[in-house]
Symmetry: C3
Subunit: 324 residues, 3 copies
């Protein structure tokens, strides 16, 4: 079962750019079926029992790592974590050597987060184990994109024709890129809004509408996906100050209340409250930020299940332990 091409996804999940509408739909449907496991008194099914997974996080992350770990444990996999601190990578070993060594230990899957764009693909091409990209540089963060799509679908139904605006530091954001690819593939209209210094120069080639003013974005959109502002951008000269950023681009209650329709607010976290988003909005009635986190576990369970050769139609049976 392991190390084989999954019938629905291929060997790896590297980005949403490569996935078809059917593939994304299959992941979301499977995640929908898996949600219920995390609400059981006993949150555990034997789907990945005896599978060995390495979570290789060469960049810090609590939220994504913990989400993957619980997804793995709820599927009964055996997991080991490695981080950059203390790893052989710190001893100057190449990523390929690290990967080949893990594979030689008969690892079934590697979940990798790494600062270099393309590192997940680089790895995937060199080992037979399934590779899941948990964020590679500025490239993609596909499970984040998928959980955003699932959360929007939960609240607004089919994504076709929905208007979703991604706000903030699109230039440096792998979350933005995964959202843009996933949303467009599913038929949504995508906008971006942020200071020119934080939008990619070629942003229009991505097939998105560009908004210069947050008020216009809010008037246009059914959904806002508000990106985290990396505070170090200020030092880099991309924005004049945090206060100024909040004044011009902050998603505030006042602005949200002027929206012409019942707008949905997402944020991938961790939030800078009072910078890109105000607490009133983050904790308000339009926010689905915590449901994104809940959906994150379900989406990651679905991806791991499908990569291990699971079949979407069998997800219900797998949950009862009928398939292991």
């Amino acid at each position: 079962m392991a190390h084989a091409n999954a019938p629905y996804l291929g060997k790896d999940l590297l980005g949403l750019e490569e996935l078809s509408r059917e593939q994304i739909g299959a992941i979301l449907d499977t995640a929908e079926a898996f949600k219920e496991i995390s609400n059981r008194p006993i949150k555990k099914v034997p789907v990945l029992r005896g599978k060995t997974i390495v979570n290789a996080f060469f960049e810090n992350s609590t939220r994504t790592r913990v989400s993957f770990e619980f997804a793995q444990k709820r599927l009964s996999a055996d997991t080991v974590n490695i981080s950059s601190t203390g790893s052989s990578v710190a001893k100057g070993e190449t990523l390929v050597d690290t990967a080949r060594n893990l594979e030689a230990m008969n690892i079934d899957m590697v979940v990798i987060r790494h600062g270099a764009s393309g590192s997940a693909r680089f790895l995937a091409e060199r080992i037979a184990s399934n590779v899941v990209n948990a964020g590679d540089g500025k490239h993609e963060h596909p499970t984040q994109g998928l959980l955003d799509l699932l959360t929007i679908r939960d609240h607004r139904g089919p994504l076709q024709g929905l208007r979703v605006c991604i706000c903030g530091d699109v230039l440096h954001s792998r979350v933005a890129r995964s959202n843009i690819h996933g949303l467009r593939t599913m038929g949504a209209e995508v906008g971006v809004c942020g200071p020119l210094t934080l939008l990619p120069r070629d942003v229009q080639t991505l097939g998105v509408t560009v908004f210069r003013r947050i008020e216009e974005a809010i008037e246009w959109a059914d959904v806002l996906n508000v990106l985290r502002l990396q505070l170090e951008r200020m030092k880099g000269g991309f924005i004049p100050s945090l206060r100024e950023y909040n004044r011009v681009f902050g998603v505030t209650r006042e602005r949200v209340e002027r929206a012409p329709r019942d707008i949905l607010i997402l944020h991938p976290g961790p939030m800078n409250r009072g910078v890109e988003i105000d607490s009133d909005v983050a904790d308000g009635p339009h926010s689905v930020i915590l449901q994104q986190v809940t959906n994150g576990v379900a989406v990651r369970m679905a991806v791991l299940y499908l990569l291990a050769g699971g079949v979407p139609d069998h997800a219900e049976a797998a949950k009862t332990g009928g398939e292991s």
Copy 2:
């Protein structure tokens, strides 16, 4: 079962100050029943199978974290560790956001250690998951207090009327506070002994007897609980030197041998041998320091079991796997 108020403890264990004599007694009795599990060839019962627990240690600790982890694994829970290094907290996220995110992943329990007094309560009031305080600033460290009580009870029987003196840096010690509350609730007489600079100014309002000389404390007490001297206190000007501290307040063999009765010596560890306690005493016949560690696992198993809705009278049945 999870997220409900435990019939015996309420939703959380935040401190011993809030617990009644019956509640503390129930925890100690349950711990007594659970001790035996750690002596089996197969140290595992299915009491918390499929429960998900996060150990969030924002301050370093090996001993407490490992003790909780083994308690959790022996009860078959799925656990994930997060530490301050590499966590979203390091990215500037608030503790509330971290907590809400964990909860959104359908976590059953959070074990938290944090440098700020009151942080465990702050968390507990904001999430529905059970919260166990594993040490919050200078406030409380309730499972340490409970394991101290259990160890004293193991050796001296009922705590009612026993004289227990807490020696050393009472001012900065959450262990001291948990001991004082727990011991007094159980009817013990409590003394404290240390340099005036390391005793709280309002110490007498806590209902304890103050000893200025270690010799007097030893003459009075049935039990000494010797606190770790934080070596950084010397730099803070609280004590003149380590050597001087040992000379005046050190629990030495010579002093212990002059005790009028068979005194019992506890220390929460890690020990500064030759400072607050001499090796002769730490490893001598009066010391029950290693039994404290053994009892720590049993006490933590009991607390997790009771918070998950377990009933003390059923602890014996739970151990055989008859209840999961």
Copy 3:
């Protein structure tokens, strides 16, 4: 079963120097039987279910720690990791106190890596739990030695009479010492080759042949075990430059092609490609470097199984879950 002297190994595995030919043979045979588990779809047998193991890595290591962790998880043990960062050791606690505390938590085994030669023995003499040395200073790294032996035996049959040359920084290498002891006990002829500054002064008392030129070593040997060059040696003045080291002692394709027989190339990793070994050789037909990694998991499973009281002849039965 636990804490008892294993009939085949004694209580601990501290080094290969102490093991007899029969003992090493028993470990290798057991590892051979366990290899197959890691190729199953469900890589898990209940051999160590309910056993608790601490991996105490006071020096950084990804590869060895991950290998031990997967070995433990594939045998169904419960494991907890501690590292120097954040441990009580960082608070000034002695290694003995740390060890006694772990033991007091009813730990069955401790796997220790530590910078001080002799630390594993020091620990083993003070606690009843089984101790496995995962590398102690410049002394020994016995599971690495065993996996090297297993890999050579897999490819060249019985070790008796084989010529194995260890190349590089023999002076500082615990891998070299474990190899020399293990290989000589099994009847192999052992050579060493490296700059005089990186060979122990008393190297000849170890019963090995010394080669000053890598070309001579290659002409003599059936097997080369190429050690990692610690890059900090250059700063220490042990070698003039990395380029010069590669020029004189590097295992290059050109040199390997001149070997008079089908030479086998091992390296314990992580490799400095282009320094002690060229990529052509590391990834070439003579290299068994990745098989070493694969064998590492099997060897560690075997060691843990035997220390827990397992019997080599029963290893096959244990694999089917017939013995737990």
